[in-house]
Amino acid sequence: MAVGESQLDGETESGAEDEVEARVGWRYTVARIKQDTTARLGLYIVSFTLFVAMYTLIDSNLSRLTFGQVSDYTFAQLLPFFDHPTHIPPPGEGTQHMPPYFPLAEQSWNPLPAGGTLEHPLGTDHTGRDYFTRIVYGTQVSVFVGLISTFIGLSGGTIIGAVAGYYGGKVDDILMRIVETVYAIPPLILIIVFTVFIGGASIWYAVLGVGIAFIPIFARIIRSQVLSVREMDYIEAAQAAGVRDRNIIMRHVVPNSFAPMLVYATLQIGVTILIVAGLSFLGYGAQPPTPDWGQMLNIAHRNYMHSNIWLSIWPGIAIMITIMGFNLFGDGLQDALDPQIDD
């Protein structure tokens, strides 16, 4: 996708006068991302979600260590960094987890309407937990799940694709048949079946399942890359010099086919988050009480479609913005890494 190439044209032309500009390499890539408005926006969103995810990870683990549980009740607790109010009940003291000052504490837990108080800017959920805090904490699950399962898919796919592409022949045939078969089962279905039969609904099985389900896609891309790289002179040179196959694959073939994979992986993180949100929505992803957007949407959709519509809105917006960040960044990266893009 050609994004903002009009600004770039001038740049490259003026640069071409004094020296030939290298159109590959990290410096060039970073420069192009900086020039590209949409890529920059994507980078900002991705950095922001990563920061929030890291913050909540550290924060929730600190509070787990200190108080024995995650503080997910009020917005006010989010504000002071790593500083937790003392009203969280110590572990074991009551399963209700009700903050003492909660306004509806006496009644059945009807979710508080959105924008109710300063303490609960987005209201609360059905158990009286602050919705905003839960959405912020939901970033953690989505982002890490996206990163980890994409990493699993990427590394698995790279190994299989590289081996298949490099050796060709029978090895290629067998590996690619398997890959094609896995590819033929719709990912969501495969992941659910996998999760249930590995040991029941859990976010970690879901992560593993998503990773495995996406191995075929990565394997196919890296294989086609390897097929073209394999014919390069430097591979022949390495072979002639007696370098072992494994080293040729790892040191020459894979690094040289990696750029398109990187772009694809970035875009794939978005897809992964999308799939995991769907899994959680169906109940096969993150399990309560872990805050997770898909699961929050599930509860809101089942119980509060009429009484509190905003509960179904906020988590969706969070999912959308996160995925959009990765997509924008991926698109920008694609433009930056593709030297032929400006026509």
Binding site: T181, G316, M320
Partner: protein
């Protein structure tokens, strides 16, 4: 006929993949730590006799490869086993439920194609103008939003707030109108069917629309820079004709591929959208099978969804070969 030969060739080629799907589903269902018997008896006391009886009844005491061969033998005769939860043949259940899912997926694709192609063409034609930017933002939102959330938002707006459209269920246009109490006449039936279909169709189709639009735009831009377009321009062919005829036709081929490749996402999406809109299709059947630990049903549904995907890809391949005169039958992937 060459096309028929190619179709047969593609079908034969897909047999290993279909066998592969059956092996994977069978292994997942039978080798996982959760073995079928304990899943069936979940929550009940496990006594030795009962386990034996169940193993005997479902042939679970035989070695794995034998069980697989028995299962495959049944499969060839159209017997997918017996659903433990519904106490009915799996094949019957699937036949009952495949209609709504196909209706949903096909209408979602129809929606996606009808909206995405004109939008993509306009975006390419008015490149870097406001309408292009607007359509690209729309495409970005489309690929970044989960289908179930689009469904929820649509329900909130059109069913809960405005009360224009129903929020759940489907009216099947192939059934006689008399099956529905409040509907008389075929016209009313089609109207109601469309009303019920509208929201889930948009929910499922938006992602496809966004992907197709992106591809259409890139392809059209590329196509508009082709030599043949330059030649047509040099001959003084009006720009509208170039856009509609010369550039357009060439740009459509990758769309066919995208439609086929995205089919698996659409089938997965259908499972979730069916849950949101309470549609009794394959997706619901799958979710039921999982929730009830009905491993026979689950195997059957998983395999059928895989088969649907493979068939869909073959259909798109064949239509690709049909559209593109350059494809030599039998050699292309």
């Amino acid at each position: 006929m060459k096309l028929l030969k190619y179709a047969t060739y593609r079908l034969l080629q897909s047999i290993p993949v279909l066998i592969g799907i059956s092996v994977i589903t069978f292994l997942l269902a039978n080798l996982g730590p959760g073995d079928p018997v304990s899943l069936m008896l979940q929550g009940q006391e496990q006594n030795e006799e009962l386990v034996r009886a169940i193993e005997q009844r479902y042939g679970l005491n035989k070695p794995l490869h034998e069980r697989y061969l028995t299962y495959m033998g049944g499969l060839l005769e159209g017997d997918l086993g017996q659903s433990i939860h519904y106490r009915r043949p799996v094949a019957d259940l699937i036949l009952e439920r495949v209609g709504p899912t196909l209706l949903l997926v096909l209408s979602a694709y129809a929606f996606a194609l009808v909206t995405a192609i004109p939008l993509g063409v306009v975006a390419a034609d008015k490149r870097n103008e406001p309408s292009d930017h607007a359509s690209r933002v729309a495409a970005l939102i489309g690929v970044s939003t989960p289908s179930f959330w689009i469904g929820i938002v649509l329900i909130l707006i059109f069913a809960v707030k405005l009360e224009w459209l129903p929020s759940s269920g489907l009216v099947y246009p192939w059934r006689p109108p008399s099956t529905y109490r409040s509907i008389d006449g075929h016209l009313e039936l089609y109207y109601q069917s469309l009303r019920h279909l509208l929201l889930p169709m948009i929910a499922l189709g938006t992602l496809q629309m966004a992907t197709i639009m992106r591809v259409e735009r890139t392809q059209m831009i590329e196509s508009l820079q082709g030599e043949y377009v330059k030649l047509a321009r040099a001959y003084g062919v009006p720009e509208r004709t170039i856009l509609r005829k010369h550039a357009f036709q060439v740009a459509q081929l990758p769309i066919v591929t995208i439609v086929g490749a995205n089919l698996s996402t659409a089938i997965g999406g259908a499972v979730i959208v069916e849950t949101v809109f309470n549609i009794n299709g394959m997706g619901q059947l799958f979710v039921d099978a999982i929730q009830q630990n009905d491993y026979q049903l689950m195997m059957g549904v998983t395999m059928m969804l895989g088969v649907l995907f493979v068939l869909g890809v073959i259909v798109t391949d064949i239509s690709y070969a049909y559209i593109d005169p350059r494809v030599t039958y039998g050699e292309s992937e």
